[in-house]
Each structure stands twice: as structure tokens, then as C-alpha cells.
Symmetry: C2
Subunit: 239 residues, 2 copies
DNA sequence: CGCCGCATTGACGTTCGTCAAGTCTAGTGG
DNA sequence: CCACTAGACTTGACGAACGTCAATGCGGCG
């Protein structure tokens, strides 16, 4: 067997409720186990897939942290998202049978490989899986609407506050702290995602530190005043 | 019968190739005809659905022009897209069974109502429909990636040029002119979509007119030099 | 004919980008 | 163990792009 691939089972995966439909019976779960037959390890800095590559599978992140980004023809690039354990990446590839963005691991990672044609045939049999797929794609569309709002109408402080709150909320849902987090990405990658230059990201962090809202030591961030961050994101609401 | 609802058939709709899968046999087409049993008229300025409303159906636009927008808690709003005949709206509602944006008709419109539970059950039988649904959702995700690139890294002229090229390309695919178009939205709505203020949109139009790239008379736009617009969007490529 | 919403244009201010210098940290090798 | 280095980060000075505010123009509709 390829050393990069290992047999696994969703049925005893503790991330099941994050990436798989809930309330499956034993028989359906067994079918899904067989579909997700392979895992793949991705080293920090390596790509899981690249723009232009043929699309075959979706990937559920088991461990690790990814960024996805697209490049315009003249070389600018835009980080379109940061993904963590339990999230699914690769949905962009469905429409034209090839990926339209790059997925890069920001720390050593492991993903479950889910061949898309098997997902399609299985979701014709298992209603919960079909529904789940639709929800995952719809959730991504809604998430991107939120990013459009952020990029289209927020100022630097608001963008960074929203970013931190979103990250810590997702980490908390995975059992991590509500107030402390380690950034897996550089200031430049944060800036790309938020439509800011890295210097502006850095300055805005410094501003938050001055205000006593967060403590920052390189990539270690402690949120001291969550409410203050919320007020930054939603100025009017605080009145 | 409700006067707002009319019986129709996909099988003789000239937009079929835009909103439905291609290569269906007569039997499958008949099943889909029965699913899309109802049309609905939406007057200019009226909403097709609103943020918070229960999600029941997707809508294929038969005639007319829509915008979708989301509002942040403190009142800012962001136009997330403009949709024209043959495009499908409502995908945002799937994930939580309620709509998360508003869809407003920018001119008198007519949509085909496609109840989502019927789409789901039918796409278990008709593979082409299942595949089509997946592609539509993936296409929307990829489109939004492009908007993120625009909002995150482009300057005002680049944004407006990209916007005009995208609009005219979609109109051309529907049999309209490659060079002339009528904007169905205000400068403010364009600005909201592009992350600019309406004055900046107006000034940028004026700049294009000065340069002889486009002619603008209110909402009537004629693109004089398509290549110039392309060069604005992709500066490096022109070298 | 006059009103109203939309659009244009100008003057000015703010935010963020650019450029540059300097600091910190982790990793490497002597 | 410590010096060295490369990459990431911080900070400052300055300028450009875009936002804000305000006045005016235009066109459609009652």
C-alpha cells in the first residue's frame, strides 16, 4: 500500500458530526466508510490540489489547517478561505471538472479523500448524504456572502475583528479555547484574505493591543475583551 | 388559480439550455416539467424572497433582472450579485432552511418556482439533474471567489471594467449585443456590489468616457473599446 | 410645468498603501 | 552553547486612492 494512504473509518471518527450527516443508521454508515477509503497526508507548505488540476475528489480535513487561494492572470493572488479540521474543501472543482484554486497546508495535515463520483452515486441512495452535500455547498455560498460584506463595506479594524471572532468561534466549536488561538498563517496571508496589506494588518493588531482588546505575541493571540471586538464589528449595535 | 401563478413547461422553454441539464430524454424532461409546475411574476422593486423567510424553493429566472443583497446588523448592506434570465437564485437558503439574503427585482420579472424537496427527490432518479444541481452550486462558489479577488485586490477602474465585461458577456450569451447594454441598477447598487461609493462609480464612468473607452448616457452604456477594458482588468497581460 | 430621484462634479479629508528602516524569532551550523 | 541568517513582523513618514459633503444637472412622470 502507498505509504501516504491509510485505511480508515468514519464510523469511529470523532469529527464525524462535523463533516458527515448526523443520524445515519449502521448500514448507511458502513457504505460511507467504504467510500472514504483513503486518507492522505499533506506536509506543511505542500499543496493538496492546484488550480487547473483535474477534479476527482472532495477532501474532509482530519487534522491540520489549510488556505485556499486564487491567482489573477497578472499575478495578484487572493486567499479565499482558511479551513480547519472537519471542513470540506474542493467544491470549486465540481463545475468544470478541474480545480480553480490552490489548497495549501499551513501545518502538517491529513485529509480523508472522498471520490466525487462515489459521493454522487451514494447520495442517490442515502438521502441524508444528499441533503448533507447540498447543505455543505450552500453553507460555503453563505460564508462567501459574509466575506463579500466584509471586503465591500468594512474598515480595517472591523475586518480584523470579524476575522478573529470567526476563527476563535470555529476553534471553540472544536473544543479549543474561546479566548486564545495560534495563527497558522502569516500577516500577509491574513491581509490577502481581508483585502489589506500586511503592514495594515500589523498596525491594526498593534492598535488592538494598545486598546487592551487583545494580547499578541507573534502568532499567539489572546482575546482579552471579546465584547470590544464585537462592538468594532457592529458599531451601531452597541448603542 | 392564483393569478400570479401560471402553468408552464420546461420542455418548450427557450432558456432550457441555461437553467436545465442538457441531453435529457423525453421521459426525464416530463418529470422535470411536472416539478416546475408554477411560475411567479415579480414586479419591479418587489422582493422574490427576503432574509429570514422560510426556504422552500429555488427560482429560475425566466425574464427580468434581480439583485441579491445581505444586510449587516448595523444597517450596511452589500449587493452580492445581479442575476438575469436563465440563472438560478435561492441557493443560500438551503443550509438553514431559511433565506439569508434579499432578492429584489430590478425590472418586472417572471421566475419558475422549483420546490426544493422535489428537486432533491427527482435528482435521486435523474442523474443529469443531480449533476446539474452540483454544478450550479459549484459555479456560484467559483463566481464568488472571483468577486472576492475583485473586492480584495482591485482598484476602482479595474473593478468597474471587470463588472462591465462580465455583464456584457452574460448578455451576449443570451443573444444581446456585445457592446451595448442597459444597466438595470443604480450607481449606488453597482457601488455596493463593487465595494465603492456611488460617486466613485460615477467618476470612474466619466474617466472611461474621457478615455474614449465607453459611451455613457444615464443607464445606457456602449463599449467602444473592449480591449482597453480588458487591459484595465489585467494590466500585466497587455505587455 | 414642476417635482423627485438619480447622476455628475468639485473641494476636501481620511484611510490605507508604499517605501524604507529596523526588530524579533526560530532554525542552522560551527 | 552561541553566533548567524532568513523570514516574519513592527513601526514611521509620506502619498495616492477613495470617501464625504455639498452643490448642481438631468430626465421622467404626474
Amino acid at each position: 500500500m502507498n505509504p501516504q494512504t491509510i485505511k480508515v473509518a468514519c464510523s469511529n471518527c470523532n469529527l464525524r458530526e462535523l463533516c458527515m450527516p448526523i443520524g445515519l443508521n449502521a448500514q448507511d454508515l458502513d457504505l460511507i466508510d467504504r467510500m472514504v477509503a483513503v486518507r492522505r497526508k499533506v506536509k506543511r507548505g505542500a499543496t493538496l490540489f492546484r488550480n487547473g488540476e483535474t477534479f476527482t475528489s472532495l477532501y474532509a480535513i482530519r487534522t491540520g489547517f489549510f488556505k485556499t487561494s486564487i491567482a489573477s492572470e497578472d499575478g495578484r493572488d487572493q486567499v479565499t478561505g482558511f479551513q480547519m479540521a472537519g471542513e470540506v474543501i474542493g467544491l470549486d472543482g465540481i463545475v468544470n471538472d478541474q480545480h480553480t484554486c490552490d489548497a495549501v497546508a499551513l501545518e502538517d495535515a491529513e485529509v480523508c479523500v472522498m471520490p466525487f463520483d462515489e459521493i454522487e452515486s451514494l447520495s442517490r441512495e442515502v438521502n441524508a448524504l444528499q441533503r448533507h452535500m447540498h447543505k455543505i455547498m450552500s453553507r460555503e455560498i453563505v460564508r462567501e456572502h459574509g466575506v463579500m460584506l466584509l471586503l465591500g463595506s468594512m474598515r480595517a479594524e472591523e475586518r480584523l475583528a470579524a476575522f478573529l471572532l470567526n476563527l476563535v468561534q470555529r476553534l471553540h466549536a472544536r473544543g479549543f479555547s474561546q479566548s486564545e488561538l495560534i495563527l497558522r498563517m502569516t500577516r500577509e496571508e491574513i491581509g490577502s484574505y481581508l483585502g489589506l496589506k500586511l503592514e495594515t494588518v500589523s498596525r491594526t493588531f498593534s492598535k488592538f493591543v494598545e486598546d487592551g482588546t487583545v494580547e499578541v505575541k507573534q502568532r499567539h493571540v489572546r482575546i482579552v475583551d471579546t465584547e470590544a471586538l464585537r462592538r468594532i464589528v457592529n458599531p451601531q449595535t452597541s448603542l
